[in-house]
Symmetry: C2
Subunit: 447 residues, 2 copies
């Protein structure tokens, strides 16, 4: 643990802006850190400091650092270096890492960079570039070891021995036919422990489906998670083995997906230290949407000008009903979104879920409406007013369930991401229903 400890101190030292370091001292510190630690330091730095740090890196580590960075920061830094430097930087990277970087370049620049690469590298990278970023093809590495089904294990073992080293995270190799079509896989552990005179096809596993290059990366993550696998073969449309995906790339998919969900719910799409202009731009859409829905709520209140003029208590209490509905709707929305993401929800259990949510809203609605009614009565000493607010709250909690369940389903039908737009829509519904029910009931029963 000492090594880990010491390194963190280097990192702290590097990130502490109160300590003035000369460029040589910084370079010295950077040399002591791994590429992922440097990437972390860059992600933890404001834009100016980040650019300076990156410019002090040696070219031979630039590629690894770029590969470890989030997409936005990666693009920023790549746009500042020359094509030759970029070609040099990505030389030693894995296929999927290079593809990740090139995919985000303007097309003209991507082609220039590709043309400066060796024929072998270019071919290797074009395999990945053929597939969209969010597919298995975008995650694949071409460093696969494959053998034929009719060889003996001894031949395979000798073949492996003659490699300089096995690729990182190699826990299995793949078995292909003469046309490179995937047949099965062979665990390294098996190769070592089984009898050397056995034939590959007697030992290999064929019950594991390879991943198709067109498959969505989130589906790939689910397959890896459910089956606890470390690497998987990737095949093209014709069944040919074109590469493999390793679990470390899947980990990145899961982390990024979670990050995007988390930020998306608040309408944010930016890195932590994005410059103010970019951050403002990324958030203003969401704020404008909310402004629109706030005006819709105001228009609802506007309908009840008369009753508001007569009874000022209503203005004081009306935000309560709306806000409680908003929270309840967000809870229902969250549980539905999670069920949809994990593919737990289908047409046959949907009805059960809706009924459960209605039961929850009535149970909590009863408890909370008694509480609201009691506090209102104690505060204003008006029995009818306190009954009204209790009843309006129950109406709004039930409507929050309907919104929380159906809004995400409807948004999905129209190919909108319910995780991003869902929350605005459901709170608009509960605001409107909240003001409508409370002020509407007041109009009927109080004047």
């Amino acid at each position: 643990m000492e090594i880990q400890q010491e390194k963190e101190n280097y990192l702290d030292l590097l990130l502490d802006s109160d300590i003035d370091l000369t460029h040589d001292e910084v370079k010295n510190l950077l040399n002591k850190l791994s590429s992922s630690e440097i990437a972390h330091a860059l992600e933890s730095s404001p834009p100016k400091q980040r650019k300076l740090l990156f410019s002090l890196l040696e070219t031979d580590i630039e590629g690894d650092v770029l590969a470890d960075l989030g997409e936005e920061i990666q693009q920023d830094l790549v746009s500042n270096i020359s094509n030759d430097e970029l070609v040099e930087a990505v030389k030693e990277l894995e296929t999927d890492e290079t593809v990740d970087i090139l995919q985000n370049l303007p097309e003209a620049r991507m082609n220039t960079v590709l043309s400066k690469m060796s024929y072998r590298d270019r071919k290797r990278i074009e395999v990945g570039l053929n597939y969209p970023e969010n597919t298995a093809g975008g995650l694949l590495n071409t460093d696969v070891i494959s053998v034929r089904p009719n060889h003996t294990i001894e031949v395979v073992l000798n073949y492996l021995r003659n490699q300089d080293n096995l690729p990182d995270n190699t826990d299995k190799i793949f078995v292909v036919d003469k046309e490179d079509k995937y047949i099965g896989e062979l665990a390294i552990g098996k190769i070592i422990t089984c009898k050397p005179n056995l034939i590959v096809k007697e030992v290999m596993q064929t019950n594991i489906a390879p991943i198709s290059a067109n498959q969505n990366d989130k589906e790939v993550a689910i397959i890896f998670e459910r089956n606890d696998i470390i690497s998987s073969a990737v095949i093209d449309e014709s069944g040919k083995l074109i590469g493999r995906i390793t679990v470390d790339d899947v980990l990145d998919v899961i982390r990024e997906d979670a990050d995007q969900n988390f930020l998306g719910m608040a309408g944010i799409a930016e890195d932590t230290f994005a410059p103010p202009g970019r951050a403002a731009k990324s958030r203003v859409f969401w704020l404008s949407m909310n402004l629109l829905t706030a005006f819709i709520a105001s228009m609802t209140i506007n309908v009840f000008q008369d009753v508001l003029t007569q009874i000022v208590y209503l203005a004081i209490l009306m935000p309560i009903v709306a806000s409680m509905g908003g929270v309840a709707a967000t809870q229902t929305l969250t549980i539905v979104l999670r069920g949809l993401t994990l593919e737990q929800i289908n047409s046959s259990n949907m009805r059960w879920l809706l009924k459960r949510e209605l039961a929850v809203s009535i149970l909590n609605g009863l408890v909370l409406s008694i509480l609201v009614g009691a506090v209102t009565y104690l505060w204003f000493d008006e029995l009818v007013l306190s009954l009204l607010i209790s009843f309006a709250l129950i109406i709004n909690l039930v409507s929050s369930v309907v919104a929380g369940v159906f809004v995400p389903l409807i948004l999905r039908k129209f190919n909108q991401d319910p995780a991003i737009s869902g929350s605005v829509v459901v709170t608009t519904v509960t605001d409107v229903v909240g003001f409508l029910s409370f002020l509407g009931l007041a109009t009927i029963f109080l004047i």
Copy 2:
């Protein structure tokens, strides 16, 4: 891909409540699914159907299915089976999986179950039970292969060959001294490709720090992610090798963590198909907190009864300022929470971040206040009113930044999880400031 396809149809068939299946037909379907697919089916079923499905499982697969389930559902189902059945079910599980299940049992039951196990299994599991659930110790497996530094690679290879099979996900073995203290690690790929007459200590890697059993599991996940590793040695306080952690367990940590963050923001802690009573209980605390803050907002409005009675437009427009502040505060809170989670924020870049957020709030504040002012002027034809609401909005957006930045930092100081309580606190601040600034300015300038 065909195998995958077919299996999904079995799963769909199983989950479709419109098709009536006999118990034998269900058993038949279950036999065709893997343990993780059965776990998924159980997680996608309402409680009653879930219990029935579980009761139809053969004992030899029950353990694997239990290990693949989320904690809440796992506990539920375990509480329904006998101790003998449980001992039988966990027999073939990995150490960390068994520890996971036993850790959640009432202590008396845990001891009974342990006493029914074989001496070997009990010892193995007690290693993991010594450490809290959210530490590296709770994730470790004891199926490690270790060798001595002075043996030749040939001896190691022969030793490995004599194993029946290597444990799942074995990409490296570990090197220990006479007292079992960790010295270094040896990649399987290296063992195969290097010269057999080399000595272990010449080939092993010693620059990789092992994980300490007391380390927090989220830290472990970060180490795995940053270094793209598949398995790591785990040592106890004295440096003794006690087990290893594999990446599939880390994947579960990351997924659960993301899940909890996502649900936590809405104040939910329950599985998708929890029964209504439990779901209502899990959510009522959050709703009650919101009720409290809603009353605080109402009390703020109450102060301005006079001006509200005189100018009804204020009641119509006041939710706008409050709600915009709430959204802006949630955005700032989200970016700070993410920075804290990823350990990107420290005292030296905090100042930059606060300034950036203030700049963002002023930029977006200007744009939005012009919009709000214009719409208000067009709607009510009152110049002073529209200037007031614009100005109040800017005040509230700036205050939303202060709340969004400092509330999570203060909550952390008091050991509260800012991801769970942060959102309630910041929206209370922006509600109060929103009503206070708008109605306060109105009191000064309109009457």
